[in-house]
Amino acid sequence: MANFTKVSRRSLLRGAAAATTALAAPTIFTSKAWAAGYTNEPKGSTVTLGFNVPQTGAYADEGADELRAYQLAVEHINGEGDGGMLNTFSSKALTGAGVNGKKVVFVTGDTQTKSDAARASAKRMIEKDGAVMITGGSSSGVAIAVQGLCQDAGVIFMAGLTHSNDTTGKDKRANGFRHFFNTEMTGAALAPVLKNNFGTERNAYHLTADYTWGWSQEGSIKKYTEQLGWNTAAAVRTPLGAGDFSQYITPVLNSGADTLVLNHYGRDMVNSLTQAVQFGLRDKQVNGKDFAIVVPLYSRLMAQGAGENVKGIFGSTNWHWSLQDEGSKAFVKSFGQKYGFPPSQAAHTTYCQALLYADAAQRAGTFRPSGVGKSLEGFKFDGLGNGPTEYRAEDHQCFKDVLVVKGKENPSSKFDVLEVVEVTPRAQVEYPASLLGGELGPYNDGA
């Protein structure tokens, strides 16, 4: 076992020095002997949270931004820094003295944006580091996989960036909570804006990433645009990571469609949008109308990769740093001063999730998943940048206003890519929990 002896000294040093995590670490046998306890019940003076974000692969930058936000959140919860959104948060349970009298510490891991790796990483946090909550991620597949794991292990999962309906629909779990919005809300929020800008007689052509999130997105946009009276000319599936989308874009040219909907995210979105513009679709005229391109889910961080191609293109986003409410301003200020650039929507949602978890645990007076869950269920709050928000009890999904944005024509800096066109009020994007199916099941407190 020569390879293990190589790192032994460093590991030992680390083990000695990183006493903070070690204190909270459980014994190696998490047996069912302590039936009265719950998984990783913090016994020392600290409580460990697990930040599971993509650090390698296509979403590494988004993951890095999530990690920055988590670090900021931990500082604020522990009473360091300027307090950020804690000052604007409507719940005043957190006082900057940690949670339930314990200092918050954290461990990090790499999801690689792969279900397997994400689960392995989350398991490490639960089994080795004693994390009592897992949060983070930048894709729905990973979110659903880790959510299932957390349910089985008996810890809370606070989803990061995941936009598929399934996370709080078909695959919802009692131990899982999502602050981010979903494709259903995107459809409902985007449709009225599309109607105002492009009218009711449009012929839409969809290009859809060929996996669950893409289908979910395509379904929602179709549903709401067809209600407006739009026609769906075609919905073509594209392989994930196709790189060059020209073979899917050229058929659009002569299809008679006058609107292109790109149900792509991340690199696929950057490439397909860049190439669609390259093929002249943004300047085209069809049926006497200006051709329109729509990107239902925008990410400012990713949109930077498409450069000037995003100009004038509509989409939706969970949050944007140019918002002028007190919460957003406080968050942008404290993030920007620490890191020198504004936070992304991924950073915002993960910061909120960390805060919401800490607040719920504080109000519940325990870290027991069922206790934390109960105090999150139906929790109404404000001051976290999205206006009045509610964690719906039936599906553990946050309901809040949705931002419709447009690529900015004259950006003043490289971060200033999107402008908010409309804030669609929450009432307009709400749907009955039964619409998406699935079963929450009971809470699992684990061991």
Partner: protein, 382 residues
């Protein structure tokens, strides 16, 4: 006489191996790797790599598509859980069988070619499986999300035997022993030891000799009137079964099967594990698998805070300098360490980590019996 010694030393090796594996949780604890999930991964990927080594180490056929069998094993196991029973035995058995079956199919076609043409054929099959599993075959594979258990699954055998899991999602159990955590690891460890034993027997058998002959000179074998393809195919199927078994065990310890398991990077990973550990050696693949999984799970978890703590004994300016350099290699930079490790190993230890162990052993031996005749030119690790 020689045969007896060999048999004895084999037995010693097997016993040492078994002892080391079973004591894994204790041995690996100081390295931060003594927790169930990583131990399970060590054992499972050890099996995967041992199986791969039977094909690559003995016959020299470099398959770039073995992840496909791993994925098929996982899907089979999860479907067995869903349809039949949460007991791991039928799941593992069926996973092995189906892994073997697909290996027979793909191997039969791919083995018509040799060298890199063979590699590309296996790669092509695996990539087709992956791409289809991710998209078109979603009804079977549940695509991006991965195939999961549901409460409402039929589980006909469990129902027939009157097992009721109640309102919670079941996890697999061996007649009442839960297959998560340490029991899961010991189950995998037992299978690993069995697999190691089988592989050892294959290495020592006439069949193993035949496979080595395929590697050394296939043409000569053909000229002597022997058709080598059945032998190569047998090795391919065996390694496919190992992969299916490993995939099944992945599902046993964690009942979710994701499509990424079949991607070419996953196929590449097992190749790297085997070469890193030492191709054609018995122990090498297990060690290689352990090394890569260790990097993936432990190095990626180091973040700036941990580093700052680690180097807190240094003066502050130096501490920050050291941390900024070190953080290149851990946390989000763990790939860099892995890449550098590959290069260093291949450049300085062409036989993989096992060659390092052997060289170390030779050095030690030389010191011990310096007056006796020493073997100065050790045989290559291949």
């Amino acid at each position: 006489m020689v045969a007896i010694i060999k048999k004895q030393s084999d037995l010693v090796l097997l016993l040492c191996f078994a002892a080391a594996v079973l004591a894994g949780p204790v041995i690996l604890q100081p390295f931060g790797a003594g927790y169930p999930d990583l131990l399970q991964k060590f054992a499972i990927f050890g099996i995967f790599a041992i199986g791969f080594n039977i094909l690559f180490g003995l016959t020299g056929y470099l398959s770039f598509g073995h992840a496909a069998f791993l994925g098929i094993g996982s899907y089979t196991a999860v479907w067995t859980f869903k349809l039949l029973s949460m007991n791991p035995l039928p799941a593992v058995l069926l996973a092995t069988l189906l892994g073997g079956l697909f290996a027979a199919l793909i191997g039969f076609i791919s083995l018509r070619r040799t060298g890199i043409y063979f590699s590309i054929l296996t790669l092509a099959f695996a990539q087709m499986s992956y791409n289809l599993a991710y998209s078109v075959l979603t009804p079977i594979t549940n695509g991006e999300t991965g195939l999961q258990l549901r409460q409402a699954d039929p589980r006909v055998l469990d129902v027939a035997f009157g097992r009721d899991y109640g309102a919670v999602l079941p996890s697999s159990d061996l007649f009442g022993i839960d297959m998560t955590g340490y029991p899961g690891f010991y189950f995998c460890a037992a299978v690993l030891i069995l697999c190691f034993y089988i592989s050892m027997r294959i290495f020592r058998s006439p069949f193993g000799m035949m496979l080595r002959a395929v590697k050394s000179n296939q043409n000569r074998m053909n000229y002597t009137g022997l058709n080598t393809r059945p032998y190569a195919l047998a090795a391919f199927v065996i390694s496919g079964m190992y992969a299916g078994l490993a995939g099944g065990l992945l599902a046993v310890t964690d009942p979710l099967a994701g499509a990424e398991r079949m991607q070419w990077t996953a196929s590449g990973e097992v190749v790297l594990m085997t070469i890193l550990g030492g191709t054609g050696t018995l122990l090498g693949p297990v060690i290689g698998a352990g090394a890569i999984k260790y990097f993936e799970n432990i190095f990626s978890a180091f973040n700036e805070n941990i580093l700052l703590n680690t180097f807190s004994f240094l003066p502050e300016t130096l501490q920050h300098a050291v941390v900024s350099v070190a953080s290149l290699f851990v946390g989000e930079g763990w790939h860099l360490t892995l890449g550098a490790l590959f290069m260093v190993i291949v450049i300085f230890l062409p036989g993989g980590l096992m060659e390092g162990v052997r060289r170390f052993g030779v050095l030690f031996k030389r010191k011990a019996d310096s007056d006796g005749p020493t073997e100065t030119q050790p045989a290559s690790a291949e």
